[in-house]
Amino acid sequence: MGLISRLSPAALRIIALLAVLAIVVIFFAVQIEGYLNGRLFNRISSSVAIMALIATGQTLVILTRNIDLSVGSMVGFAAFATGSIITNNPDLNPLLLVLYAAVVGTAFGMVNGALVAYARVPSIIVTLATMALYRSFLVEYSDAKSITTSGLPAWLTDFPNMPVFSIGAMEFRAGFTASLAVVIIVHLCLTRLRPARALFAVGSNPEAAEMAGIDAKRVVFAAFALSGLMAGLAGFMFLARFGTITVVAGLGFELKSVASSVVGGVNIFGGSGSVIGAFLGAILVDLLETSLVRWAVVSEFWREAVLGALILAAVATDTILSRRLTRLRATKKGDAK
């Protein structure tokens, strides 16, 4: 049990989450024939690639004790704007296109950040409003036209499914690999870089952060800008994966990303959590959703009810489990003295 005392609470949280994930997988493997195979991995990994990015951005914001409800609208707008650029200029350099999506997202994120950090409007108010506003921009900008796959170059639509490498039947496709890379990079930055700690400090105690010489405003601004950036990248991925973009693109992503983060153990009151956790949370939510469709026991109409119950159960289990582990760790440490 020496291990437990050496692990940080954050690591314990991840372990609890992995345990919950394992339980879910085992349960469905028993229930559904031919469940546990490479294809399951491919399904979940491809579909979680987009939400992983959004949840990463959401996590950065939640860490600072804020929330970003406008992510869905930002994804929708970025996807559409990117799609219409490439449709009109099919020869555009791929990197420029990604950059464009990133810039669009970041710009929106910066508006959120400026209003929250510098105009001191609570984030829930700002992003509730910009959620509506950005979607309105999309409706206005799109003029009821859709982006269709036929207008997109092949490299773009092929990108998400391009296999990068594979382990057995498990394919690591470009979309998933790219977003996994982003998650890992952000994780490393968060845990290793000195300036990134300010994010935790501001979320943990904003007043104290201000007094400790941290420019809390800039930190919050940056978190929102990064969330916008992530939404922009997710918009790009959304476009590449689905090809057809209408005004409803990304609708409902805000709550789903919040759910992913909190299921992943990010403290909704700020200050603690990890993007790896949020990533696992996104996987868990996606896994539940997909598996429930395949589970013969629940009919189409029961699925939502069961999903709600399972999310709650997952969060409760995870919370209780990590509380237990933390306590266990505390006593072990005490004994060691």
Partner: protein, 497 residues
């Protein structure tokens, strides 16, 4: 020699309140400059102007003789001005190490092992032991204070301001801290030291400034003044000697008797009884677990063994409601976390624990009676506020303390447990609080006072219970107690009798 930091005719208004008026102060390298004044005199406000948290309404701040605008604490930090604030400012989700180095700026990559090593050194330098991997949310107030001090020490500072750093430290740590302050001054740092403990001021400071009502009253070399003069300057009148022990008002009837009280892994086998009208003082170092004993008596901590006999009946308390119904009150040491709802009006806070008394049968609040009570306490406890409807968080620390006391006194409890009753309270108010506790026991009330301030323990306690690391060392009668004997028990130099 030039002052490293100076305030020139600085004023600060908060709306209608003038917290500082025409304040001028010079700080020189290598001096320990004490600042004293009543609660609400404007000391903390002045500090916050020096560190860029507040902007002056008028006047200028000078660094090295040149006027500067300190736009935020970062700007101040860059000029070498750092502070330890009155209310500890820790990050509950981060561990001790990260808390200490949160405002460090050097290096892009974090070097955890080096940080932990250095954190341990810094903590040791204050004379404390603290697991540097612990998450700060579990730290006691004193430990939080230690973290803050370590944070300040971790930086290169030219001016170090300490706003009541010893308020929640016990004698041992406090003396370590004073040693550090002297050492820093010897290195040429200008140390500003705010304290309500005058003996500290005289032991430590080279110069002392008095502030009253936001105005500068005097700045003198420490040799040119004495405690009586200082107090007179602070409060504008003479104050009686409040450290004289008043005769005991204990009766022969036992109010509460505690036998073998334990909480697994926290404290064990605590046994004492208190007579009606008596004051039992609890002394000990930080982490002696006195607060936990109080929490257990108040039903906020589950006990694992032991009995409590209260008014002759066995009593099992599992919630604060039960304790309150039984006539037990607990004045917490942590005002912000457990004491006061800072954003709510003073009046609401005062009647909070006794709300039942102000309700009509329909459950509606009798506002008239409530206002009357609030004003009553405002006068009785001399709470400095224009009215009782403003947020209690806007009051100075000492006045907040009085509001908290008012909340529990209003309950007219049989047993009043007071944890650090005069933390951060000025001399005048301290005397008033002591008088209040005395009046309370003289009127038949019973008190359990937890204090880290040894003179206070001696001034109040009819008997003194000394704790050390969760164990009860001894109960000594006042006549047999001295600062030295208590310290010896608390530090374990002398074993339990």
């Amino acid at each position: 020699m030039n002052p490293v930091l100076a305030l020139r005719a600085v004023s600060k208004n908060f709306g209608m309140t003038a917290a500082l008026t025409d304040m001028t102060l010079e700080l020189f390298p290598g001096e320990v400059h004490a600042i004293v004044g009543e609660n609400g005199a404007g000391k903390s406000t002045m500090i916050k102007i020096m560190t860029g948290i507040h902007q002056p309404s008028a006047g200028t701040v000078e660094v090295d003789g040149a006027p500067v605008v300190l736009s935020g604490s970062k700007a101040a930090r860059l000029r070498g001005v750092a502070a330890i604030y009155q209310e500890p400012m820790v990050f509950p989700d981060l561990d001790v190490t990260e808390n200490i180095f949160i405002s460090a700026t050097s290096g892009l990559l974090l070097n955890r092992p080096a940080m932990r090593r250095r954190a341990r050194e810094l903590i040791a330098r204050i004379g404390m032991t603290l697991d540097v991997d612990r998450i700060a949310s579990g730290l006691s107030l004193a430990e939080q204070q230690a973290v803050e001090i370590a944070r300040a020490l971790s930086q290169d500072v030219r001016v170090l301001i300490m706003d009541e750093p010893t308020a929640s430290l016990s004698a041992h740590e406090a003396s370590e801290l004073r040693r550090i302050a002297r050492a820093l001054a010897a290195d040429g740092v200008s140390v500003v030291y705010i304290s309500h403990r005058l003996e500290e001021v005289f032991e430590l400071a080279n110069r002392v400034s008095v502030i009253r009502d936001g105005k500068h009253i005097s700045t003198k070399g420490i040799a040119d003044t004495n405690p009586q003069t200082l107090i007179a300057e602070m409060v504008g009148r003479e104050v009686g000697n409040y450290f004289t022990k008043m005769p005991s008002t204990a009766t022969s009837e036992t109010l509460i008797s505690v036998q073998g009280l334990s909480v697994d892994g926290v404290f064990e086998n605590i046994s004492f009884d208190i007579k009606r009208g008596e004051v039992l003082a609890m002394a000990g170092l930080i982490g002696a677990r006195r607060t936990d004993v109080a929490l257990a008596l108040f039903g906020m901590l589950k006990t694992s063994a032991g009995q409590v006999t209260y008014k002759g009946q066995p009593l099992q308390i599992t919630s604060s409601r039960q304790a309150i119904d039984a006539g037990i009150a607990y004045v917490s040491e942590d005002r912000r976390k457990m004491g006061l709802a800072m954003a709510l009006p003073i009046r609401w806070n005062i009647t909070l624990a006794t709300l039942q008394k102000y309700l009509s049968p329909m459950g509606l609040i009798n506002t008239g009676a409530e206002v009357a009570t609030a004003w009553d306490y405002k006068k009785k406890l001399n709470i400095r506020t224009p009215n009782t409807d403003i947020a209690v968080g806007l009051l100075s620390g000492g006045n907040q303390q009085k509001v908290m006391l008012a909340k529990w006194l209003n309950m007219a409890p049989d047993l009043l447990i007071v944890d650090e009753p005069t933390r951060g309270i000025d001399v005048g108010a301290k005397a008033e609080v002591h008088a209040l506790i005395r009046a309370f026991t003289a009127a038949g009330g019973t008190a359990l006072v937890i204090s880290s301030d040894l003179p206070e323990v001696l001034a109040l306690g009819d008997r003194i219970l000394v704790m050390r690391e969760g164990r009860q060392m001894a109960i000594i009668n006042h006549e047999d107690a001295s600062q030295e004997s208590i310290m010896a028990l608390a530090t374990g130099q002398k074993d339990a009798a």
